[in-house]
Amino acid sequence: MTVTRESYAARGCQLSVLRGGAGPRLLYLHGLEASGEAHPFLQSLSESFEVFAPEHPGFGNSADADWLENIHDLAYFYLDLIESFGPEPIHVAGSSIGGWIALEMAVRNTTRIKSLSLAAPAGIYAEGLRRGDIFLWPAEERLRNSYFNQAHAETAIATLDPIGNFDATYKSAVSLARIAWEPRLFDPALKKWLHRVTCPTQIIWGANDKILPPGYAREFAQLIPGSHVEMIPECGHLLALEQSARFTTLVTTFAKAHDQ
């Protein structure tokens, strides 16, 4: 099974979607990784699921979205999207800001979500847990701080092309700033409603995450009823990339266990 890129119209926004595989449907919401690439973990997930992995409106190859002002806009957009898939609930996985979007969806409506796998989600702030500044770090430093294994970082740095990739990179960065600059990577109102996340939820974290430190896993676990934490050693923020096999296994096992 493979995922391939296609264009998909949703609520008047032309999305670029990586799509493929067979099985129960899984919506994957990307984080800070290069959003348009068919990463190995997406290929692996497509062995067990019909994977639907869009680039968010206003990001990468998806169309500009002048209506995009905050994280709530993306939550409502994706709730509309999964409703348009039909009455059958689906599995949702999300990394970083994608996990944050999934949580904002879930506090509003969990009836279409069978399971929720969150990989180092953003969305809340906890005092004393020092986060990295993804907007201030130069590109090389940001990549080094995204991985535990620096070989991955060096590979990514070697392919940096600030001018050649400027347009897509800047577009994504502007949309990211729109939703996450201030307050930085969180929604002050989310915490008080996380008890509404009643679908089966797992929280996966890289033990060496320098962007959102692993202490946040426990914060989320305390706020989301019945959730549990999977901590991955020797792993940074881009955990779906750095520990691809482990991430795929965790998502697949959890989703299959809740695929009634």
């Binding site: 907007f135 201030l136 770090w137 130069p138 600030p162 001018i163 400027f166 347009d167 800047y170 577009k171 960065a173 502007v174 949309s175 990211l176 700033a177 729109r178 600059w181 201030e182 930085r184």
Partner: protein
């Protein structure tokens, strides 16, 4: 022609050995490097210099806003302008400018500027800016909505000054039930508005629009860029169907005068280099250009230029490029008259202190400029444009 003195009020007592430990002189350089005893002396010295400018015959004094940096100690230029308001009697006081998107409430600018305009009986020049990219890291304000907030705050301030209150205002970023600013500005319909910029088509078009005709100031740029952007203003004005007035064009630049060219260069070199290398250049691209601060096209141009800029610019090269001007009174007068003749700016803003330039050199340069350069520049400009006022 209007000849003004511009001040950045840098923290000139920054310890270079301490500063060298930090990669940035904006946002993240710790404020423990600021010594309030030295800072107090500097504030008072700099205010004295601006007051002295009026005595020497400058038409106005200019202050500006920057945050969390030794580059400039004026997080609120409104405070500086207020301090000058009652200590000057003739000079215009130009706030160049207040960074509108950083304010959570645009009335604060409308009110404070109107107060200064009343206290000075109409000597205020209002300037509006967005602030440089670094201010968005410093203040946490979203750079992706900076331009929208600037335009909206600007519209509210002008409406508050010109339309009878109270009235309602509802926009995307600001909503008010009662726009009714007291006091109203002394100058009617409102103080002149100047727009300082490093140069972008959007800013030039905004300034030159027939509903505004604001003075556009090109700041701290090589003379080729000054000419390019001021020529653009003239073209844009023609496109709007009118011919610009010279008062709509301005240039702000570091300037140093001494007895001879060699002496001028030698005296100001270490201080200018400190300004460039320590205050101006220690700023990464991520601070200059946070996402959304500029349009994709402008941002790409800035990134491309910054990646191509390998040349280290010292004072000699800066002088050649017209990024600063130094020399004997004769050389400086000839240079400025030549630029003025080629470009036709009606406002010239001399930054007479920069970097670590000490008080005695600053004053001597100001005196030589006022006695020997200013009259020649005024005469040449008058022959070309005649006399004109600020508004």
């Amino acid at each position: 022609m209007n000849i003004m003195m511009f001040h950045l009020m840098p923290y000139a007592d920054l310890d270079p050995r301490e500063a060298a430990k930090y990669p940035n002189s904006w946002v993240t350089m710790p404020n423990t490097l600021y010594d309030p005893l030295k800072g107090a002396d500097l504030y008072n010295r700099y205010l004295d210099e601006l007051e002295y400018a009026e005595v020497l015959g400058f038409d106005g004094v200019c202050v500006n806003e920057h945050h969390e940096t030794p580059y400039g100690m004026m997080p609120s230029p409104t405070v500086t302008a207020s301090a000058l308001a009652r200590r000057t009697t003739k000079a215009r006081i130009a706030i160049l400018g207040n960074a509108l998107p950083l304010r959570s409430h645009p009335f604060t600018v409308a009110e404070e500027h109107a107060m200064i305009d009343n206290i000075t009986r109409g000597r205020l020049i209002s300037g509006f800016v967005r602030g440089i990219g670094a201010e968005y890291h410093a203040f946490g304000i979203n750079p992706a909505t900076s331009l929208e907030r600037f335009r909206e705050a600007h519209d509210i301030i002008i409406k508050a000054w010109t339309e009878p209150g109270p009235f309602e205002y509802h926009g995307k970023h600001y909503n008010f039930e009662y726009v009714n600013v007291w006091p109203r500005p002394y100058q009617q319909p409102h103080p002149p508005v100047w727009i300082p910029s490093q140069g972008s088509r959007e800013t030039v078009e905004f300034s030159a629009h027939p509903s505004r005709k604001y003075t556009y100031l090109q700041t701290f740029s090589a003379i080729a860029a000054v000419k390019k952007n001021l020529d653009l203003y003239k073209q844009v004005a023609q496109g709007f169907g009118y011919t610009h007035h010279p008062r709509q064009l301005g240039w702000a630049t570091p300037l140093y005068v001494s007895d001879t060219d060699e002496q001028a260069m030698a005296e100001c070199a270490p201080h200018y280099d400190f300004f460039r290398n320590e205050f101006l250049s220690k700023i990464p691209l991520e601070m200059v250009m946070p996402p959304g601060y500029a349009s994709a096209q402008s941002a790409k141009g800035i990134v491309t230029a910054k990646m191509a800029a390998h040349e280290k610019i010292d004072v000699r090269r800066a002088n050649e490029l017209g990024m600063m001007t130094c020399g004997s009174p004769k050389t400086v007068a000839e240079t400025l008259i030549r630029y003025q003749d080629e470009i036709g700016f009606g406002n010239f803003l001399a930054m007479m202190q920069f970097g670590t330039l000490p008080a005695h050199l600053t004053r001597r340069s100001m005196e030589l400029f006022a006695a020997e350069v200013m009259p020649a520049l005024r005469k040449a400009a008058k022959a070309k444009f005649g006399e004109f006022s600020f508004a």
